[in-house]
C-alpha cells in the first residue's frame, strides 16, 4: 500500500513535465488551432482531421488518448491521415466541412493554471535536463527500443478497452501485435508487427475513450500535477492505467516506481524540443493546451463511434 501511495506521488511529480510535453504535443497536432483559442471554452471543428480519411481507419486510431500519450504518435496520426486522404492546408481552406464543435467547461481555471505552471517548471528544471543527459549517453535506436518495450507492456490497457468498446477487431489486432512483438521483437524492443509484410494495425484505446463511447461527457477540464491536462471523465483513466499496466505489479514496489520514472525520462528524451516549439507558437500556452486536449480527445471518441468510411466523409 505504501508503495502504491509512493508511486502515485512520484508519478505525479515526475510526469508533470511529461504531461506538459505530451499535451503540448497534442496541441501541435494542428498548429492552426493554437492561436484561435483564447476563450475559456474551446470550439473546434471535429472533422478537421478525419473528414476525408480513407480506408486505413486503424491508422486514425493508432495513437490514443491516455494522458501519457506521446507527441510523436500524434504527429504520426495527423500526418498519416493527411497522407491517406490527400488532406492539406489548401484543402482546409477550400473545402467546407460539416462542423462539430467540442466544448469543455473550465471552472477550476485558477487551480489549473497553477498546476500548469508547476508542470511547466518541473519539465524545464528536472525532466528536460535529465532527459538531455540521458540522450547523450544512450543512442536513439536503443531509446526507441525501450519505448517500444514499455508500450508493448501496456497491451492489457488497449486490449481490455477495445473489448469494452466491443471493438473485437481491434482487440484481435492488438493481441496479434503483442504476440508478434513479444516473440519476434525480443520482448517488445523491436516492432516487427509494423513492418511492411505484416502491417498489423494499432488500435489504441483507453478507459476515458471507452467512457466517451458510452456517452459520458468530458465533464470539466482539470490539470493534474504530474499528469498534465485531463478532464473529469479522463481522470478515471489514470487509475485503470495503473491497474492494467503490468509494471505496477513489479515487486518490490520501488522497482516499479523506478521503471515508471525511467520510462518517462526515456520517452521525454525522444521528444525534447516539441514542448518548447509549442510554447513559442502559442499566445497563451495554457489555453492552447486545453483546446488541443479536448479537441483531440473528443475527436478520438467521435472517430471510434463513427469510423470514417473508405474514401468518404463522415
Amino acid at each position: 500500500m505504501k508503495y502504491a501511495v509512493l508511486q502515485a506521488v512520484l508519478i505525479a511529480v515526475i510526469i508533470s513535465a511529461s504531461g506538459c510535453a505530451h499535451h503540448n504535443d497534442r496541441a501541435a497536432m494542428d498548429p492552426r488551432e493554437l492561436n484561435s483559442s483564447a476563450e475559456s471554452t474551446d470550439r473546434v471543428p471535429s472533422s478537421e482531421v478525419s473528414g476525408k480519411s480513407s480506408e486505413n481507419q486503424p491508422v486514425m486510431f493508432a495513437s490514443s488518448s491516455t494522458i501519457e500519450r506521446n507527441l510523436g504518435e500524434t504527429y504520426k496520426i495527423s500526418q498519416a491521415v493527411e497522407m491517406k486522404s490527400g488532406f492539406n492546408d489548401d484543402d482546409w481552406e477550400e473545402e467546407e466541412w460539416e462542423q462539430e464543435e467540442f466544448t469543455i467547461a473550465d471552472p477550476l481555471e485558477p487551480f489549473n493554471r497553477a498546476m500548469f505552471q508547476f508542470n511547466d517548471t518541473l519539465y524545464f528544471r528536472v525532466l528536460k535536463p535529465v532527459a538531455q543527459g540521458y540522450s547523450k549517453v544512450v543512442p536513439k535506436p536503443a531509446r526507441s527500443g525501450i519505448s517500444h518495450f514499455f508500450d508493448n507492456l501496456k497491451f492489457p490497457i488497449r486490449f481490455v478497452n477495445n473489448l469494452l468498446q466491443a471493438n473485437f477487431k481491434g482487440a484481435c489486432s492488438e493481441l496479434g501485435r503483442f504476440t508478434v512483438n513479444t516473440l519476434w521483437g525480443v520482448g517488445g524492443f523491436l516492432d516487427p508487427a509494423s513492418k511492411k509484410e505484416l502491417a498489423i494495425p494499432e488500435y489504441d484505446a483507453d478507459f476515458g475513450q471507452t467512457l466517451g463511447m458510452y456517452g459520458f461527457g468530458p465533464g470539466f477540464y482539470i490539470v493534474w500535477p504530474g499528469f498534465g491536462p485531463s478532464s473529469a471523465r479522463d481522470t478515471l483513466e489514470i487509475g485503470t492505467n495503473i491497474f492494467l499496466n503490468p509494471v505496477s505489479y513489479v515487486d518490490p514496489g520501488y522497482i516499479s516506481i523506478a521503471a515508471r520514472a525511467y520510462e518517462i525520462v526515456n520517452d521525454t528524451s525522444l521528444r525534447i524540443g516539441d514542448y518548447e516549439i509549442l510554447k513559442e507558437a502559442a499566445i497563451d500556452p495554457y489555453v492552447s493546451l486545453r483546446h488541443a486536449y479536448i479537441q483531440y480527445r473528443e475527436e478520438m471518441i467521435r472517430q471510434r463511434k463513427n469510423p470514417p468510411k473508405p474514401g468518404g466523409i463522415n
Binding site: 516473440l183 525480443v186 523491436l190 516487427p192 513492418k195 509484410e197 505484416l198
Partner: protein, 252 residues
C-alpha cells in the same frame, strides 16, 4: 567442382551416421545467415529437444527441453552474430546406479533454468545453388539444477540433494547448403563439440566434472519460407542420441 561437392556431401552424411557420437547443442541453423546484408536483423523463437551423453565413470544421459528467443545481426556480408536466451529443464535418466555401494532409486528432474547461447557463422557461396559455411557456438546454463534423490549407501537408505551446476558446451562445425525450389534451403554438416557439467551428491559424491562422451556429430536441416517474412527452420542432430529443434525466424 561437382566432384568436390559430391565428396563433401558424402563425407558429411557419413559423419551423421558415425556411431558412438552424441549431440550437444541447440540448432545451428542454415550456414547461410538469415540476413545477408551488413546490419540486417533477424529474430526467432525456437524449441529444441536435446539429448547428450556425459561420462565420468558411469554414462549419464542428459535430456533437455529448451525454449528460446534469438536475435541475430549481420556484421558483414554473409557473416552473422547471433544470441539466444531461453529456459531449459533437465532430466538425467541414468542416475539409478552410481556405484556398487551407492545406488539411487529415482531419476533426476529439475524445472526451468535460464540458458544463453552466443554464436557466429560465415558463409561462402560456391554457386547459385551450393555454398559452404562454418560456425562457432557456445551455450551456458545460468542456473544450478538440483533434485532430491533417494537411494542406499552400503545398504543404508538416504535422501540427499543432487546438484548439476552450470552445464555448458562449445560447438564448431562446417556445413554444405543447397538452395532448392521456392527459397527452400537444405543443409547438412558436421561439428566438433565439448560439453561439461559439475555434479555433486554430498556427502556421497564430492563435486566432480562430467564431460561429453564423444566429440563429433552430424546435423541436417531445412529452412522453408512460410510467408510474410517468416521462415521455418527444422534441424536434427544425429549421433548416439538424436536431438531435434525447430525455430520460426522473422527477418526484419
Amino acid at each position: 567442382m561437382k566432384r568436390f561437392i559430391v565428396m563433401t556431401m558424402f563425407l558429411l552424411l557419413s559423419l551423421c551416421r558415425y556411431p558412438g557420437t552424441a549431440p550437444a547443442a541447440g540448432p545451428f541453423g542454415p550456414p547461410e545467415p538469415f540476413t545477408e546484408a551488413k546490419g540486417g536483423i533477424h529474430t526467432a523463437i525456437g524449441y529444441t529437444y536435446k539429448k547428450d551423453c556425459y561420462e565420468n565413470g558411469v554414462e549419464r544421459i542428459f535430456t533437455q527441453n529448451i525454449f528460446y528467443s534469438e536475435l541475430g545481426r549481420g556484421f558483414a556480408r554473409y557473416f552473422e552474430l547471433y544470441g539466444r536466451f531461453g529456459i531449459a529443464d533437465l532430466e538425467v535418466g541414468n542416475v539409478t546406479r552410481i556405484s556398487d555401494e551407492l545406488q539411487t532409486s529415482e531419476d533426476f528432474n529439475d524445472n526451468w533454468q535460464f540458458t544463453g547461447t552466443l554464436g557466429v557463422k560465415g558463409y561462402y557461396p560456391l554457386s547459385e545453388i551450393f555454398g559452404v559455411g562454418a560456425f562457432l557456438q557456445g551455450t551456458y546454463s545460468f542456473g544450478d539444477y538440483r533434485d532430491d534423490v533417494r537411494g542406499t549407501f552400503n545398504g543404508v537408505a538416504f535422501t540427499s540433494e543432487y546438484y548439476i551446476e552450470n552445464p555448458w558446451d562449445v560447438n564448431a562445425g562446417i556445413a554444405l547448403q543447397a538452395h532448392v525450389t521456392s527459397g527452400i534451403k537444405v543443409y547438412t554438416g558436421a561439428y566438433l563439440y565439448h560439453s561439461e557439467a559439475k555434479i555433486s551428491l554430498l556427502p556421497y559424491i564430492p563435486e566432480s566434472t562430467l564431460k561429453n562422451e564423444t566429440r563429433i556429430g552430424g546435423f541436417a536441416g531445412f529452412n522453408i519460407p512460410i510467408g510474410r517474412g517468416f521462415q521455418l527452420n527444422l534441424e536434427s542432430q544425429f549421433a548416439k542420441r538424436v536431438s531435434a529443434g525447430m525455430a520460426i525466424v522473422l527477418v526484419h
